[in-house]
């Protein structure tokens, strides 16, 4: 039997169709799952979005990213357990980097100011700038896919790196060295 005739047999046809259908389904799942990774890369190399609002302590705040300062923007919430673990590390980093001209600014997203202030106080992080984002729009403007998330903005106001999940001090140090 020739190859052509063999391919035309019902068994071969069924297998061919099912493999193709499986490929489409698998590809769909894979591409769907890829969304988070692609989202993390989308803003790299682009100008940082605006960051303006009121801090949890009631102070007006406006970030001017393109003024020569490397800026680390962290998005968090008091209801997020990993964020609660991360806040003390960010507060220490902010204090250590201040003399080097590096700023750490945070966005407190979909949160209540009372809970946010309580967490900052518990973590001895009252000096950390935390801009209120009650409806989550600032987090979305910064391309966040969840919390916690950290974005690195260089001195020219360009987004250079993004970290999904809790950061380590090693990662922060490496970003500061690389983009300062």
């Amino acid at each position: 039997m020739t190859l052509g005739r063999r391919l035309l047999r019902p068994f071969s046809l069924t297998i061919g169709l099912v493999v193709a259908a499986g490929l489409v389904v698998g590809l769909g799942i894979a591409l769907g799952a890829r969304g988070g990774e692609a989202a993390g890369r989308a803003m790299l190399g682009a100008p940082a979005p605006a960051l303006r609002g009121t801090t949890v302590t009631g102070v007006d705040y406006r970030l001017h990213p393109a003024r020569g300062h490397l800026t680390l923007v962290n998005i968090w919430a008091a209801w997020c357990a990993p964020c609660r673990d991360e806040i003390p590390l960010l507060a220490r980093a902010a204090a250590d980097y201040r003399t080097r001209g590096v700023r750490v600014v945070t966005i407190d997203t979909r949160d209540g100011p009372v809970a946010a202030r309580a967490l900052l106080s518990d973590a001895h992080a009252q000096d950390l700038v935390a801009v209120k984002d009650p409806d989550g729009r600032l987090a979305v403007a910064w391309g966040a896919t969840g919390v916690p998330e950290t974005v690195v903005v260089d001195g020219h106001g360009i987004v250079r790196a993004r970290r999904l999940g809790v950061v380590s001090r090693g990662w922060l140090d490496s970003q500061v060295r690389r983009w300062s």
Partner: protein
């Protein structure tokens, strides 16, 4: 027959009039309400923290934030396409639910089309080559039921293999982008536990977003149906909004055993029993016995004295 210019001109004129009427009808259609327009745009955007869910279908905090942004932008008069572009600039082309026609996504369009084309060609070839078939003795002897089962088993295996290959290729890449440290991925961070949902509920409650708080407490309850915190907070939220029907059912299991939430549960239960005489008084007395220094205690005493 060749159409002359005398025929074409009236036909074109009629078509132009018809097009104008259709355009007029379409433009005079009432604009749907904002919530419908938000929902339409949200359905075309992928929730970046979920697998395969749209922003409209997802209840994650980020999807809710994205719906807030869509609402605001549409309210400002931006078109759905402009809103989608705004999201694409931040989250990449994958944020749109319609697959792109470039890169690997092209396969999603091309493969089904190719299969249909190939299937059609095969059917054509087979129908042309079809002859009246006479079964011979060997055909009659073949166990046809066994063939059917073999086809089915092979089909299942092949479907699984076909689905597994691209998934296996793409999924490790996703995890790998955060590999190299013990930091949780976004998906892990978004997988909130019952205590996180309760905290989120309390935060939303303090902001005055009581429906949002109710949603958060219900998420906590779905994860931990016996959570005293989730039951009591949800019951309290419903009580304050006047939704009394399920308050007692929610809070009663917390009023029995000793625990941190027992006094608040008794207070909520007592207030829900208001107007029912004896149970109301008895429950609030139990509350006062358990928590005489509770911030609500003076008000409860006044309430009982006023009866």
């Amino acid at each position: 027959m060749v159409m002359t210019r005398r025929v074409w001109i009236p036909v074109l004129a009629v078509l132009a009039v018809l097009a104008a009427v259709v355009a007029l009808v379409l433009t005079r259609q009432p604009t749907p309400p904002l919530s419908t327009r938000v929902d339409r745009v949200a359905k075309t955007l992928r929730c970046p923290a979920c697998n395969g869910e749209s922003v409209a279908a997802s209840d994650t905090p980020i999807a809710r934030s994205m719906r807030s942004e869509i609402t605001l932008q549409l309210r400002k008069g931006r078109s759905p396409d402009q809103v989608r572009q705004w999201f694409v600039a931040r989250y990449g082309a994958d944020i749109v639910t319609t697959p792109s026609t470039r890169g690997p996504e092209l396969l999603l369009w091309a493969l089904p089309a190719g299969v249909l084309l190939a299937g059609g060609l095969v059917l054509l070839v087979r129908s042309r080559g079809h002859r009246p078939h006479v079964q011979d003795s060997t055909d009659l002897a073949r166990p046809r039921a066994l063939d059917g089962r073999r086809v089915l088993a092979a089909a299942v295996v092949c479907a699984a293999a076909g689905a597994a290959v691209p998934a296996a290729v793409a999924l490790p890449g996703r995890v790998g982008s955060h590999a190299g440290s013990s930091a949780p991925t976004t998906a892990t961070a978004d997988r909130l536990g019952p205590a996180d949902w309760v905290r989120l509920g309390r935060s939303l409650d303090r902001r005055g977003d009581q429906p949002g708080a109710e949603h958060a407490y219900r998420q906590a309850l779905a994860l931990a149906p016996h959570s005293a915190a989730a039951r009591t907070r949800l019951a309290f939220d419903l009580l304050r909004r006047g939704h009394l029907s399920s308050v007692e059912r929610l809070v009663r299991p917390v009023t029995g055993p000793p625990g941190r939430y027992r006094p608040l549960a008794l207070l909520v239960l007592g207030l829900a029993q208001r107007g029912r005489g004896e149970p109301f008084v008895a429950t609030l007395h139990r509350f006062l016995q358990l928590a005489p220094d509770h911030p609500a205690a003076p008000q409860v005493r006044r309430l009982l004295r006023s009866r």
